[in-house]
Symmetry: C2
Subunit: 299 residues, 2 copies
C-alpha cells in the first residue's frame, strides 16, 4: 500500500462559505497563507459566485491578489458557470472547480439547475479550461445520502464522476454531504470507484456531522483512496444546523494518518496555527477535536 | 460475526465526574432514568468516593435511592477501596467497579497508589464482592498512552486485565485515556486481548479527544470486541482541557452500529432525549456530534 495521501484543504472555501461570519480579504488571505506554510499543496481558496448570494466568498479575486507567491501550491476556486469562469481567469486563477450532485433535488436547491443542466454548465466551463490551460476539479455531492431525498445511489455518483472525468476533470471529489454515511456504505462507494477505474483521480470528501468523518476516511484509505478533502478545525458547520459539525477536520485527519504511518506533507503544529489564525478572525473556537486538544496542550 | 454489542453508558459517572458543574441528586437520577428508558442495560451510575475530592459524585447513595425500579438494568458504582465498597453495599448497590492503570505515574496521580498498591485494594474489594454476591467490573486505564508517560505497553495492560479477571471481575474495561491512540494501535491491543482469551469479558473504552473515538470503536469491533463504554452526548471532557472532547459519544456509537447493522438494544431518539435531560441540567449543549445534529433535525 502507498504510504502517502494527498489532502485538499477546503477551509477557506467550503469551510468559510458555511459559517455565518464573513471575513475580510486580509483575514482570508492570512488564513490561506498559513495553510500553505503548514505544507498544503492544494487549497480551495474561494469562489467566483454572486456576492449577494454568498457574501462569505465575495472578493475572491482580491483575496488571490493579496496572497504572497505560494510556489507549488494549487489554489482552486469554485466556479458555478461560464460567468464565474471568466471572472476566475481575469483574476489569474490557474485551477477551478465545478460542482454537481447525485440527487436532482439537491442539485436544484444548490445550483438552481437539475443534474443534466448542471452538466451542460460544466461542459462550457470545461471547454474554457481547455482553451485557457486551466486545471479543472469536479465535485459530486450527495454521493450516499441527500438531505432532501434520503439515501442516494452511489453507482449514479460514479457514473456522473465518469462524465466529469471525460470532460477533463483532473480530480473528482465525492462529497458525502450529510455526514450520515457509515463505513459500510463508504466501502461500497470505494468499490464502485475502483471498479470504474477512477480511484487514482478521486478524492473523498467527508463531513463529521454524525461523528463518522475519521472512521469513513479510514475505511476509504483501506479501500484504496489516496486523496481527501478536509477543513481546518472542522470549519463548515451546516448553516441550517448551528453547532453541528462541518467538514472532517484536517487536524483529526493528520492525527489519523500520522498514527497509521501515512505521510501527508502537512505539519500538524503549523496546521493548528493556521486554525488559530481563522479562529481569531471568527472570534471563536473551531469545532475540530484534535484542534481543540492541541491548542490546550501542544505536543 | 455476532451482530450485537453490549454498551455501558458511563455518562452519569465518568461523564459527569469530569465536567465542571455538580448536578443535584434529582438531576442525576432523572438522567439515569432517561438512559434506562432508552434501553441501556448497563449504566455507570456514580461513585462512592470522598465528596471533598469529587463533589460531582457526592450523594451517590441518595441518587440510587431516588431512582424508580429499573428491572434488568445493572447500575455500577465506582469504589476506590474497601471503605467505598462498604458504602456501596450500605446503599444497596449490586454492581461495583474498581480501577487501576497501566502506567505507574497515572495510577499514583489518579489513585495515590502505585499499580501494585491499587491491586491490593482491588483484592480487598474483590473479596468483599464474593462474600456479598456483588458484581465486579475492572477498569484498566492508560492502556496505550498515558498523559504523563506517553506511550504505554498494551501487553502490560492485558497482563493487569488477566489479574483482574482472576480476582473475579466479570468484565474488564480497557481505557484509552488520552484519546491519542489511532486504529493501528487499537488493532494491536485487540490482538493481545484475543490472544489472552479475554475478549469475551472485555470492554473497550475510547475517548474522542483527537477525533479517533468512532474509528477506534470500528476497528475494535472488526477485531472481535463486542462491548463498549460510551457517554451520552460525549460528556466527560478532560478537566485539564476545557472544550476538549470527552468519552466517545453514545449517539455517535449508535449511529455507527446502526449503519453496520449491529444491534445495541438502545433507541437513538430516546438516547438523544436523555442527553437533553442532562444538557438542560448543565445549562449547555453537549459536545457529541450526532447528538448536536439530531437535536437540530431529528429523523
Amino acid at each position: 500500500m502507498s504510504s502517502s495521501v494527498r489532502l485538499c484543504e477546503v477551509g477557506p472555501r467550503d469551510g468559510l462559505q458555511n459559517e455565518p461570519e464573513t471575513l475580510s480579504v486580509a483575514q482570508r488571505a492570512a488564513f490561506i497563507t498559513a495553510l500553505a506554510q503548514a505544507g498544503h499543496k492544494h487549497i480551495e481558496c474561494g469562489a467566483f459566485v454572486r456576492a449577494a448570494s454568498i457574501p462569505q466568498m465575495a472578493d475572491t479575486a482580491a483575496v488571490l491578489a493579496a496572497l504572497p507567491p505560494l510556489p507549488g501550491v494549487a489554489l482552486t476556486a469554485l466556479v458555478p458557470n461560464l460567468e464565474g469562469m471568466e471572472a476566475a481567469l481575469a483574476a489569474g486563477c490557474k485551477s477551478v472547480a465545478v460542482f454537481t450532485a447525485t440527487s436532482e433535488s439537491f442539485s436544484r436547491k444548490n445550483t438552481n439547475a437539475n443534474v443534466a443542466e448542471s452538466m451542460q454548465r460544466i461542459e462550457q466551463v470545461a471547454a474554457r479550461c481547455r482553451s485557457s490551460g486551466t486545471q479543472l476539479r469536479g465535485y459530486v455531492s450527495t454521493v450516499l445520502h441527500c438531505p432532501l431525498e434520503g439515501r442516494t445511489d452511489p453507482a449514479r455518483a460514479v457514473a456522473i464522476a465518469e462524465r466529469l472525468r471525460a470532460l477533463g476533470c483532473a480530480e473528482i471529489s465525492f462529497g458525502e454531504t450529510t455526514g450520515k454515511a457509515t463505513p459500510a456504505e463508504v466501502r461500497v462507494l470505494c468499490q464502485l470507484i475502483q471498479a470504474a477505474g477512477l480511484m487514482d483521480c478521486s478524492a473523498l470528501h467527508f463531513h463529521d456531522t454524525f461523528g463518522m468523518g475519521i472512521a469513513n476516511a479510514l475505511v476509504a484509505y483501506e479501500a484504496g483512496a489516496r486523496s481527501f478533502d478536509s477543513s481546518a478545525g472542522g470549519l463548515g458547520g451546516c448553516p441550517n444546523a448551528p453547532g453541528a459539525a462541518g467538514n472532517v477536520a484536517t487536524e483529526d485527519l493528520l492525527h489519523l494518518f500520522a498514527g497509521l504511518g501515512v505521510s501527508t506533507g502537512v505539519d500538524l503544529a503549523l496546521q493548528v496555527r493556521a486554525g488559530q489564525v481563522v479562529a481569531a478572525a471568527l472570534g471563536r473556537a473551531l469545532p475540530g477535536r484534535a484542534w481543540r486538544a492541541l491548542i490546550q496542550s501542544p505536543r
